[in-house]
């Protein structure tokens, strides 16, 4: 079946611009996660959605970062007023209920010039 998909695969933007990254989880998966992978910081958790519960936003690095999940499916990660330190690969993962494994998408590589 189809895996987790993310779009765009690459995004180049100028400092100060806003960007939106999209994640389509595996159908039926109730949990969705965003992570960031960068050379300096490794793999970092950003935000976690589980069903209709309030999301765990504890990993968002600043108030320029936000995410939403519409209809329990597609999620969008928004970064406002991008900075060069936001350059990284943003990974999305989904997980079915009562299972532990997270299934990762291919990521979006964000470059802020």
């Amino acid at each position: 079946g189809a895996g987790v998909s993310q779009s765009p695969s690459n995004k180049v933007t100028e400092k100060g611009k806003d960007v939106e990254l999209r994640c389509d989880p595996i159908s039926g998966h109730t949990a969705l996660y965003w992570y960031r992978q960068s050379l300096g910081q490794g793999l970092e958790f950003l935000i976690y959605f589980q069903g209709n519960s309030a999301p765990d936003k504890s990993g968002l690095p600043s108030d320029r970062f936000s995410a939403e999940r519409t209809g329990g499916s597609v999620s969008t990660l928004t970064i406002q007023r991008t900075q060069q330190e936001d350059s990284a690969v943003y990974l999305c993962a989904s997980r079915p209920s009562l299972h532990n494994e997270q299934f990762f998408g291919p990521g979006t590589r964000l470059t802020v010039l």
């Binding site: 949990a31 996660y33 958790f45 990974l91 532990n100 494994e101 990762f104 291919p106 990521g107």
Partner: protein, 113 residues
């Protein structure tokens, strides 16, 4: 707080030889431990997990991991390495098995022909 350490940035092994990629953890309560592999320009792929039960966990592609509570370790092993095993390997923990993953810094495995 939970943390995972991968003490080796890179592991080199000849094809056909056994391989070990090391991981130690620090968690409160029961540990939920995972191994993921990342190939170039790809997302993370799940290899195996330890939740409870047998200390030797078998996973995908012939990999296995040994959970050692007294040494707080969860080393990844394979009896006979393949060149195609060359990739970046991440150890991770989760506080309940369903929450966010906390990753180690990753270990690059290089298998030479």
């Amino acid at each position: 707080a939970q943390s995972v350490a991968q003490p080796e940035d890179q592991v080199n092994v000849a094809e056909g030889n056994p391989l070990t990629v090391k991981c130690t953890y620090s968690v409160s309560g029961n540990p939920y431990l995972f191994w993921y592999v990342q190939y170039p320009n790809r997302g993370l792929q799940f290899l195996l997990k330890y939740i409870t039960g047998d200390n030797l966990v078998k996973g995908s592609y012939g990999f296995e991991a040994e959970f050692n509570k007294s040494q707080t370790s969860f080393h990844l092993k394979k009896p006979s390495a393949l060149v195609s095993d060359s990739a970046l390997y991440f150890c991770a923990s989760s506080s309940t098995g369903f929450q966010k993953l906390v990753f180690g810094t990753g270990t690059r495995l290089l298998v030479s022909p």
